[in-house]
Symmetry: C2
DNA sequence: CGCCGCTTTGAAGGCCTTCAATTGATGTGG
DNA sequence: CCACATCAATTGAAGGCCTTCAAAGCGGCG
């Protein structure tokens, strides 16, 4: 293992891992790209020093220079309004792409900070866009990831619009569990990199309410919570909370569709 | 004016308006495209018969065939969960693009219905994607619209996460007002194409609560509400509700950023 | 005209928030 | 190494905003 020294920057540059050697390539941007294509993508990827906890990747209002794929660690995105209210928009894990906000106005509409020591792969936006023109597969993949971001936001809208605290927290934990397991980590035990404040802000409730709900889950032996360490003891029950009562006799409202346009 | 007859389909096809002749081209997908590019886009655009009220454009779960640009009328998108809960995700006006959900899994994650008689321009997805490879300007524009959709979702997240009913409804009405005026309609008087139920569901509150808030605004002489007709009497006050108290002394929390990666 | 669905209004109750205080974790300096 | 300061998290109690239940208006449409 190299020790940190005056030539740290050079060392880190040498440490850059090619997409083809990265174990995240199956869930990250280069997914389904051919070797030659992946190499082209690799050529535009930059890597700086890792972000430390609370360090800002980009600020709300910053010009959009690059998108970022997370290599390790985790990030939190949030907006701050004129009156100082903060809303957490999402948490990001390795293999996920951040910076997609800001595609509209070419400047970022939210701030993204590291929740822990985090290293990211930088994708200069204009070069990425050119590359998308060359590689239709990459373009599809970009679209796919944008669609994923939209779906994820829709899920949160549903959560904030119609769910109780119990359901919100359960959904949140199951989402983390799933994403951890997709990345080869345990689905039942993990450490939260975000604070209670972050979680409560994301889920649109007060910190105290989240704390109480953690305690409830603990009492009911659904979870075993020790600060930021979470063990899921009863996965089934957690899933039941998220899907309360599957009305099988449910009928779609606007089921008319007699003649669609296509 | 032509009358509807047995050759309706042909007539409607003849009625198709080229992008260059459409007054929405400045806010719609072809924005900033050159004449020749616009023509290429035009070639893939299809137009069926107009949707009538409550008619479904596409269903949750449907394969993604096309994106749709609204020519006239308005649409509502919503998801239905297993237990039958419905969450409205957004309302769409002329010049806006729908169907972007479903870019991830290639099948739609929500249902979109017409709120009134609505005509849409159909953009076959695969042809659109190929065209994006040919026309970098169109690709940028697609990205821009996707980014806009993301920003819009983030705004709603903020609304649902931290705002009172008063603020939610005010924000909603101001958003409509702005969009109507961008389309050449009055910013202060308009007819809502969506029901109170739709609005309340979108804003994550009970129908009764929305109804009460409309009444409050009416009493306070901020609005004049008659069923679905809304007149904004006091635009300033409405904006004050949305931006309660601009703390000018507000300081950013995580303002560290000593050394960004780029 | 009369029915039906949407909207409005009223009243009671509940879930979550806010305020307040305690406990626990973390980190620093003596 | 421990005391102390600081911040995060937990727990309790009171209050408020919104929901739910209920019923009456009001419009649209056959």
């Amino acid at each position: 293992m190299k020790t940190l020294g005056s030539d740290t920057v050079i060392n880190l540059k040498q440490l850059k891992i090619a997409c083809k050697d990265c174990r995240l390539s199956e869930i990250c941007l280069p997914k389904d790209l051919e070797q030659a294509e992946m190499k082209k993508l690799d050529n535009i990827v930059g890597r700086g020093h890792p972000l430390s906890r609370d360090e800002v990747l980009y600020h709300q209002g910053d010009k959009l220079h690059s998108l970022f794929a997370i290599h390790s660690g985790s990030l939190r995105s949030f907006t701050v309004t004129q009156d100082g209210t903060e809303q957490t928009l999402g948490f990001y894990l390795p293999g996920e792409l951040v910076g997609l906000d800001g595609l509209e106005s070419t400047s970022h509409s939210c701030t993204t900070v590291a929740l822990e020591t985090t290293s990211v792969c930088e994708l200069p936006f204009h070069r990425l866009q050119s590359l998308c023109t060359d590689l239709p597969g990459l373009q599809s993949q970009m679209m796919r990831l944008l669609g994923k971001e939209l779906s994820s936001d829709h899920d949160v809208l549903l959560l904030l619009g119609t769910r109780t605290v119990e359901e919100r927290l359960a959904t949140f934990l199951l989402s983390l569990s799933k994403r951890f397991s997709e990345r080869g980590f345990s689905a039942t035990e993990f450490n939260l990199s975000m604070s209670r404040h972050d979680i409560s802000n994301f889920l649109g409730v007060a910190v105290e309410t989240i704390s109480r709900q953690f305690s409830n889950f603990d009492k009911e032996e659904i979870l075993q919570v020790k600060h930021r360490n979470v063990k899921i003891l009863n996965m089934e029950k957690l899933q039941q909370i998220v899907t309360p009562c599957q009305k099988s006799d449910h009928k779609r409202d606007n089921d008319i569709d007699l003649a669609a346009v296509h």
